[in-house]
Symmetry: C3
Subunit: 140 residues, 3 copies
């Protein structure tokens, strides 16, 4: 967590542009204290003949699916801040480049989640801070 | 929302057949008032050596994953109607063509969802109707 | 259900190794009484330039997304047993082969799920046992 799936037209992103988006995503979550290695971003090229928006083949659309596990926004204000912050994050990589962009966040249970056989430590715990410092899962 | 992922064997669908399924999906949601551009259908070709059903490589199976965000069926009767209507929708594209078909619907939160930086309007609001008429997200 | 998506580097798994993992997954659920054909495992090759962990291209990471529909673990002890059993299942296919592995389980609603137009029978019902014996969906 977070896991980002980015479905995009062929050629929409060069390797450098993918890394830039992945970096921006990683920075966002690192700022709120998550270990950097928690952040996975997978890019999936989908041809227009396999990507329909409103029944029409799409050549300019990006669909992002985000899985949040380690942190769930609770009150409506926090949820609003989350969605607006992520919209601001993706805008330079999508809308501002002429790519229509839709995303949604799915929130799944923290206790059904494992990394190299270890259940990640509780949010904001000492152990999580150590994972962030060492940037890898360590027994705790 | 809705987002449909269709995982299918290579060659199971021609571009025309994909568009027909995408059209049927779009009509279904447009009939209940959703803007057509809300409907995204992504097709993913998966070879038999990467697609296992009960441990066996599958050449005739279609797995559909559906994300519902804008509308969630509430009472059991409505949920039954939803699953049966979608089963009827996919049957001509799958079972009736000799393709085994499993689907499930995941429902995720409406307030963690954005389109081109705008949070979609409430269900059945004036703004949603305008989005449906203009078939694009407009500030409201 | 269960549906497993395995995102992995090119070449990480041969067809034989994919089938072995799919077999292990299938055995796990068959042991708790699920029909074998419920178990779908899809493998998705993702190149390093499309697979970022902490902003870095990954050549040794496997990300598994698991959808549970037919059975949901309820109490904390059962959830712990589930995650630990699945971690043990995947270890020989990932960590023990030098592949970093993260997985999470998403649980979705049983009543929004269909197979060949039939809503699967209730957990542990006579009908489910018959589906398991015949290894296919039959009207009930």
């Amino acid at each position: 967590m977070p896991l980002w799936h980015v479905y995009h037209p062929p050629g929409a992103y060069s390797p450098v542009q993918k890394k830039q988006l992945a970096d921006d995503i990683t920075e966002f979550y690192a700022r709120i204290g998550l270990p950097r290695f928690y952040v996975m971003a997978l890019f999936h090229e989908v041809e227009a003949s396999s990507f329909y928006v409103g029944g029409e083949p799409a050549q300019n659309a990006v669909r992002i699916v985000i899985e949040h596990i380690a942190r769930h926004a609770t009150d409506p204000a926090a949820r609003r801040r989350t969605r607006e912050a992520l919209a601001a994050l993706v805008a330079p990589h999508t809308t501002e480049r002429g790519l229509y962009c839709e995303f949604h966040i799915d929130e799944t249970a923290q206790d059904l989640w494992m990394m190299d056989g270890i259940a990640p430590p509780p949010a904001r715990s000492e152990a999580e801070q150590r994972w962030a410092r060492e940037n890898r899962p360590v027994p705790y």
